[in-house]
Symmetry: C2
Amino acid sequence: MVQKLSPIREQTRTVVRSLLARTAFELFSAKGYDATTVDEVAAAAGVSRRTLFNYFRTKEDLALSGLSEQGEMIAARFAQRPAREDAWTSLRAAFHVLEEIESSPDRRLEVVTLLFGNESLRAGHAEKQARWQDLLSPLVEQRLKASDHRAFEARAITATAITCLQVAFHEWVQLRGRVDVFDLYDRALRAVRPSA
Amino acid sequence: MVQKLSPIREQTRTVVRSLLARTAFELFSAKGYDATTVDEVAAAAGVSRRTLFNYFRTKEDLALSGLSEQGEMIAARFAQRPAREDAWTSLRAAFHVLEEIESSPDRRLEVVTLLFGNESLRAGHAEKQARWQDLLSPLVEQRLKASDHRAFEARAITATAITCLQVAFHEWVQLRGRVDVFDLYDRALRAVRPSA
DNA sequence: CAATCAGTTGCACGGAGTGCAGAAATGTGC
DNA sequence: GCACATTTCTGCACTCCGTGCAACTGATTG
């Protein structure tokens, strides 16, 4: 039963949600993810522990909720691309929304470093990005030539693109953001698909 | 301080370990992962809860420890391949050890279904397989032509191969094992690298 | 003002995981 | 066979995550 919320309720809800996510990030970033308890986050945000769990299913979600939204934004951007554009090209273009989300590059590096750096978060991080497949591969499927118009092939392509993006970000963190992450992405893809 | 164990100790240790993993799998498979408590596994194996945690770091490890070993076996097999063989070919051949591990195909399907089917396990599952990258990519790196002999490219290739394997297994579970998983793997790779 | 309704809170609970200290088992020298 | 050292097992108490429930708060509406 998903209740239709009044606009005002809905609005405050997203405000509180992002407040919580931001306070959480500050603490995680400062003290480390594992050393930060949910109670601390709740207290810092001036809300009860129980309420926090009303906004986020788990502590992990507190750190990773952003990834789900990013997935949706990427899918939305993909949908806007010209219908006859090559799937790989559209994917690359769609990934570019990531550059527009986090205000400064420094901030972006900080976020990604947290996600990659922490043992407990890595798994969830990888999985959330893997869920991008579910959003993107139906869209990719429509771009395939009729000759290989199959859901399975679309998923393989989508998964590979996402993986190359992950590899690129991984290296980007390693290099402390000193190179353009999309240059890395292109290098990764060229290594995998020399023809392209 | 990693203590050098006497051979006899070491041996009983691995025996107990695999006993625990097997009892755990039976219970997970029968009752579901989430509905099974660590205490139940310990009791069923005739060992105290505390001792179980001496053998496995987490409940998740109880279900996923096999994946780490598989990674090592794949790496070992890769190392045996002829030094001049193409990296993609060696990877495919190395993945084939997976066919040799689980006795029967039915059993294999059962295992993989558990890993893919459970929400709580999917993340860890994906991550453990992603760790295969760390084992394999140094080996892949040596196979690259000097012209693109770079660790980064090796990682991209390794990650892509593993991802295609995951996609193949995912579809394989969907189809309840009715097709050969390596046929799926080949289809996935062809979709990604039409040239090959 | 009273009734309602959503969101917040505290409380009690179960399960995962850990540190510690004592019991039990195992191995060694005599 | 016996005393001793060492490793392993175990129980206990504790923290933290996550959830169900019921009471509370504060707006909205009639």
